[in-house]
Symmetry: D2
Subunit: 265 residues, 4 copies
């Protein structure tokens, strides 16, 4: 055994024959943290850092896949993660790994410049996005965005002589579409569904404004997913969506939660 | 408005009519942390602490659900979370919340006493379990268990003159079954699928044993899910399963990952 | 080398002499998850699950410590983690590991039964507690408790024609004391410092009550740590404390934070 | 009260007098996620994303600080976070917030291009860095870097006829210095202290190399912090340091841990 290892050839164990007769649905690398460049509606490009999973299927007769090739492919394409490149990346994965299916998931923070509602003071807001793309016979793509909003409880407002409990909420929207949609536009749509958007920077006049707007616009967690559903149903190019809202209740230690999923057509 | 609030009746805002015509798939409470008592194969009962989600569906004509009722139901049943009680809890949820579907998810640490392989020194090992139960027209139950194991890389062993990289891995198994299965038995099955089980307490003689056992028993992440698949396929009472393995690679900062899902019959 | 390993003696590598002349401040096991039993003011005992760190110092001349002994000690004492036992555990650690300092940290969820303010409906609230104990020449003990509360912004209330933004906050109190203090009593003290306590279960009449109480009782993050400081300064048996408040702002994606630390006498 | 709010002046509640006579050590914003630009030894600049805390002290007579000013300052300086700018940022915080102490903490992923040891294949490795800077009468700066490495257990190697358990470890080094040190140089120093560095991309010949290097170079968690200590003591411009190592044990579900802290001079 020693001798072999001293020699020039390093056996490719992964290629040896597997006899258990069990194909594997997904195999690859998970939680690779890597800097990437994504398209930005306003600035053309945005530098960000993604947590990436890359998987392929493995036929029953191979013992293993070649893990290093995933990172090589990532290295090659990371500076230009446009949506129209995802299919190329997946094609490359299928080819280099001899697979019939390939999956790519990239979760990354995405920043959008936002103006405070009254003072117009500018700051950057962080949204968490995920690209989930697969290629078998056909290409499938799901865009996920997590959008923080303020929610103010209609029941608390109605019951109470003054005030109403409110809190930070996270709305998670996932869409499949027939025509390209900007991340920025989907964020705008979702931010209308809570009691108020949230901001990184608010001056005193803005704080008055958002407080009053939220009070005028109470929303249950149920209302938030319904408002999103109304808007997503009206967008013809969206073919499937899922929307969730989670309220980190200010009066409880747990969350209130609601979810709707719809396939159109 | 003030007057009403001073009076005796507090409007039930949740019951008001919603006109958007949108039913909600899931609404309820999320991440409620609560002490529960579950069945234990050896000790009869085990005290643990669960992170709990409880959801129902909401018809299109109601504005909201009644969040406090979920916690009341949890309060009532928490001291006896046997598997045969889950259907009762879900039934109660449907009834108290006027729903046609109910969902219950409980994730909790579960401890099993384990003997070191040579010294027989006893210690407790923690496994993370989840009960996911739903009741619509029929009852559905998925048991999930996360089992840590050691994995030793066959490729690294084959290539190297001495040694082989190895690491902690987490195997996640999910099953649907036709006849009751003990958590403990499923753990035993999964622990055979890595290069070695892991332990909380190992004396010197045990450390020698597990090191050599892992070296004698190299397993790719692909092998681990295949070994589990072979075993799960042979159990007749399992009707569906999914198995994942994640290796926290000692030579990388990312993980290697594999997954297989199978519906039987 | 092989021969030695086949023989009866397994060398104690940890005891071999280290020549780098560098003593180690802390060495041991980290993130051991273990079920423990702690004292409870109302129920006498409470079963919970702790994340445990156990460290000792290591003199410059030893190569390593004996990791398995930490878990053996934990095994022995875990069913009776009364505060008056911590010194015994630390003594045992010093003795069994030949050390001059020993450190024990246990973080665990702790549940207290709480009544809703109007309906008096009972439910359990989770608080995160940590015992941090050290023994060198003398014994040192720090009790840490994380208490969720509601905070309502005085500035938002003052500026706005109606409503006020509010959110869930976490207050973290740490104390050293000369005389035993119940976890429950420290929780009560801290819950007075926000705009309102939070609860697991609130009926409609309770929701009205806590909403109005918070609105009547606005508190900046600064007020919350000052209110705690006033109360902690007045308790004679507390010799040192630190208090932090973090507001998960409903109008931002980030937190507001304040902290005060005081040594008395 | 309504009238006031309709008028032109929005009261500055934060400036109102506090009578509790309690100064606050730290108050500000926590967990602001923001894109920043930091210096890079090889590429001059690097885009990254930081989790940022900014605090000042608050004299006893003021009710509150002005939270929005922290984000305004961050906005102004974020594109040029050179180490020589930190003092300017802290100065601005002191001035704009009328404080005598200012604190700035920024944690961010930092990527370094690394070559595989044999194939020389290039890839990016992620390290987590933190800048912790304070300004009172004097400026204080602590640089923290988390470096993943492989550790191979000397005891397991010695006891076992073949193989040795090994795992991913995280070494955390913190330094104060008198002269500027590059992040890259500190990473190099720390990567020598484990059994082998880790990489994002390893070809077969590299895997053989790192496996054998780790086996030839066994290190206890104690050895790792001692090796770092030897190196850090020999660097004259380092005035204080702390080093920790955590091994995510492949044979346990918990970690082994060691820590050393030293003030020089």
């Amino acid at each position: 055994m020693e001798q072999k290892k001293e020699g020039k050839t390093l056996t490719d164990v992964q290629l040896t024959r597997d006899t258990r007769n069990i194909p594997i649905g997904k195999v690859g690398v998970k939680d690779v943290s890597y800097p990437i460049v994504v398209m930005d509606k306003n600035k053309k490009f945005q530098n960000t850092i993604a947590r990436i999973n890359m998987y392929v299927d493995l036929p029953h007769h191979f013992k293993g896949t070649h893990m290093s090739r995933f990172v090589e492919i990532l290295n090659k394409y990371r500076e230009d993660i446009a949506l129209d490149k995802l299919e190329v990346i997946l094609s490359t994965m299928k080819e280099k790994l001899g697979a019939s299916n390939a999956h790519l998931e990239m979760e990354f923070p995405y920043f959008v410049e936002k103006k405070a509602p009254v003072s117009k003071a500018k700051s950057l807001m962080e949204y968490t996005c995920t690209f989930s793309a697969s290629l078998s016979d056909h290409f499938d793509f799901v865009l996920t965005i997590k959008v923080p909003v303020t929610s103010l409880c209609p029941c608390s407002k109605e019951l109470s002589s003054y005030g109403a409990h409110n809190q930070r909420s996270i709305m998670t929207v996932q869409v499949r579409y027939s025509e390209f949609i900007w991340i920025e536009d989907l964020i705008d749509l979702i931010e209308e569904c809570g009691s108020s958007p949230v901001y990184s920077l608010l001056k005193r006049e803005d704080e008055k404004f958002v407080t009053e707007r939220a009070y005028e616009n109470p929303r249950f967690v149920e209302d938030m997913v319904r408002e999103a559903t109304v808007r997503l149903l009206s967008m013809e190019n969206i073919t499937w969506f899922s929307v969730e809202a989670e309220n980190f209740e200010s009066i409880h230690k747990h969350s209130a939660y609601a979810a709707i999923e719809r396939k159109k057509g």
